[in-house]
């Protein structure tokens, strides 16, 4: 213990003695303050949401920032009893899951072809995908509605899955193409010498290496899809097919809104995404920083 504190004080001595240290400490300190402030600003709405989930509507307006009594779970019970919460949750999981599977499968395959094979028109196809980034999809809602009607999939989760897949492909192809292009050609050659087929090269060699990029593309897409309110509102009327954000509007009346219940619903609906994010964050960060260091 005493040796430890002695080393610590010696360290502190040399730390202060080094010229210019204070200046850089000052700059780093400022950065820290900005980052901490930023964290607070980012986290505050989430914290308020969680706090409000445990309050009644009058309590929310009396003391919006006060720490609630966490044993008071009346709002959650109300959600459970008065809505199809579990149904909505499963619907959200199904729609989001199916869309993500389609986006990642199709997007990765398209990006692999564009990134690894030289063929005429490859850059056109890439540009075609990227053009999707510039398109405000919501502007096309009326033609989309008519299209879904003609396809007979209004009031059907397929309509959501198709729209989300189309929405997610541009960013996925963009992110994945860049990443796949950066993989060394010699790896592919080595696998070819080893006798691997094209499919196996993609599956066994390339895909494990692009996993960080897939996680980035996945997170990039999963949040807006999970939270989307607009398309379900337009395409889905059947209560049994509603997604979570849509289902929770039950508590948003034209004249009165039960804010406490709404916030507890939001908390429940945000929880899965937050958990996914935390689980994948290691990979996510690895993906963001890969390529920065060899």
């Amino acid at each position: 213990m005493s040796t430890a504190s002695a080393t610590a004080s010696r360290k502190a001595m040399t730390y202060g003695d080094r010229p210019g240290m204070l200046a850089s400490l000052g700059r780093d300190g400022l950065l820290q303050i900005i980052l901490i402030a930023n964290t607070i600003i980012m986290l505050a709405p989430i914290v308020i949401m969680v706090f409000s989930a445990f309050k009644t509507t009058p309590q929310i307006f009396q003391a919006p920032f006060s720490i609630p009594d966490f044993t008071q779970v009346g709002n959650f019970i109300k959600i459970w009893n008065e809505t199809n919460f579990l149904r909505y949750l499963l619907n959200s999981f199904f729609v989001t899951g199916a869309s993500m599977v389609l986006i990642l499968t199709l997007g990765t395959m398209a990006a692999y072809a564009i990134g690894r094979y030289a063929f005429t028109g490859s850059s056109f196809i890439l540009m075609f995908f990227l053009a999707g980034l510039t398109l405000p999809l919501k502007l096309a809602i009326i033609p989309l509605f008519m299209l879904m009607r003609d396809l007979g999939i209004l009031n059907n989760q397929l309509s959501l899955i198709f729209v989300y897949t189309a929405m997610g492909l541009p960013t996925t192809v963009f992110i994945m193409t860049g990443f796949i292009r950066s993989l060394p050609n010699e790896l592919e050659d080595a696998a070819r010498m080893d006798g691997a087929s094209e499919a196996r090269i993609m599956w066994a060699i390339m895909l494990p290496l692009v996993r960080p990029a897939m996680v980035i593309a996945g997170i990039q897409n999963v949040v807006p899809i999970w939270n989307d309110f607009f398309f379900p509102l337009v395409f889905i009327q059947n209560d049994n097919l509603k997604t979570l954000p849509q289902g929770l509007t039950t508590f948003m009346g034209e004249y009165t809104t039960d804010w406490g219940v709404l916030f507890s619903g939001l908390t429940l609906s945000a929880a899965p995404i937050v958990i996914i994010y935390i689980v994948l964050s290691k990979q996510f960060i690895a993906g963001m920083t890969s390529g920065a260091v060899k």
């Binding site: 060394p184 010699e186 696998a191 070819r192 080893d194 691997a196």
Partner: protein, 357 residues
């Protein structure tokens, strides 16, 4: 064991032709080195042999079978890449097992082959490591091990030592030479380093601008270079080329004097290129009436067991001369450079081809 024959091999990338008709035969158990400056087409030729790029024109036979269009894995060839190209997400064992499994071997056979390769290359303690946890030399050995487990007839090595530091390079070089003796397989080795070429090769193929300049044993190339390109490429410091005119026995360099190095080849217009390696030149302090070329010293490079003197001839040509370690010349000192008997090479002044005296 593999016997290769390349017939008039051409390769174009779009409109750019990079190989202009390569003819070459490689025998069983031979260690052949392709050497040349970067961009000469040596790696391209290797990739054509491997089957990684299609041959534009010409025929490639391996053990008598036409190989044009045959998939790389069906050629019985293994390749070691310059960057090693180890699969980063697999450990050493899996790296070696990947290709072996794809050959359709039984799991026992795969395991036995990996164990054998690991023993030969001292990789046994590293089998569970990922490539990123290995040093450069260890990665190199894994790359060779991956080639070994496929038991190929033909090994292709594409500049395998270029990412290693100098000390490790000579060590791995020795290891490759030992492996070649042990396995008795045919090996083709690409490098731009003439020292690697000289030390490893049974035969060297010198390439330049998509053509073969000369094929021969290291000794042949050093002693009888076919043209000025090979002459200057092989040997370090490089051979000095001096443009001279000759009359009778005398070779004259404008403004520098003349030498008489012995028997001369015939040349129609009296012009020749004289090629001399540093060890075939002698240098003395200038005195009147010397036979030789007048020169002025630029710099003396002391190497311990000997020294190289760099000097400039009257017409500006730079020569390098090997001397004993005790010789000291000051910069700008006037010297006479003469050619030792038998040390001169003659090349045509027109096309640089070797002329025989």
């Amino acid at each position: 064991m593999a016997q290769l024959s390349l017939r008039n091999i051409r390769k174009s990338f779009k409109s750019v032709q990079v190989l202009h008709g390569i003819d070459l035969d490689i025998n069983e158990r031979e260690f052949v080195v392709f050497v040349g400056p970067s961009g000469c087409g040596k790696s391209t030729l290797l990739r054509l042999i491997a089957g990684l790029d299609p041959i534009t024109e010409g025929e490639f036979h391996l053990n008598g079978r036409l190989m044009n269009g045959v998939a790389p894995s069906r050629r019985g060839i293994a390749m070691v890449f310059q960057s090693y190209a180890l699969y980063p997400h697999m450990d050493v064992y899996e790296n070696m097992a990947f290709g072996a499994r794809l050959m359709g071997l039984t799991p026992q056979e795969v395991e036995a082959r990996i164990a054998e390769a690991a023993r030969m290359l001292q990789l046994t303690p590293l089998l569970k490591r990922r490539p990123r946890e290995l040093s450069g030399g260890q990665r190199q050995r894994v790359a060779i091990g991956r080639a070994l487990v496929r038991k190929p007839d033909l090994f292709l090595l594409d500049e395998p030592l270029s990412n290693l530091d100098a000390a490790l390079r000579s060590e791995v070089r020795l290891e490759i030479a030992r492996l070649h003796q042990q396995l008795g397989a045919t090996m083709i080795y690409v490098t731009h380093d003439q020292v690697e070429a000289m030390t490893l090769a049974d035969r060297i193929v010198v390439m330049n601008q998509g053509r073969i300049e000369q094929v021969g044993s290291p000794r042949e190339l050093y002693e009888r270079p076919a043209n000025t390109f090979v002459a200057t490429f092989i040997g370090s410091p490089r051979m000095t080329l001096i443009p001279v005119t000759h009359a009778g026995e005398q070779l004259t360099l404008e403004g520098a004097g003349s030498v008489a190095p012995g028997q001369l080849p015939a040349s129609p217009d009296g012009r020749l290129t004289l090629g001399v390696r540093p060890d075939a030149l002698a240098i003395t302090r200038a005195t009147d009436g010397d036979e030789g070329f007048a020169a002025s010293v630029i710099y003396t490079e002391y190497l311990g067991d000997n020294a190289y003197v760099y000097a400039r001839l009257g017409d500006g040509t730079q020569v390098s001369v090997r001397t004993g370690p005790d010789v000291q010349f000051a910069a700008d000192e006037a010297v006479t450079v003469s050619v030792r008997p038998g040390g001169a090479h003659f090349f045509s002044a027109e096309d640089g081809k070797r002329l025989v005296a």
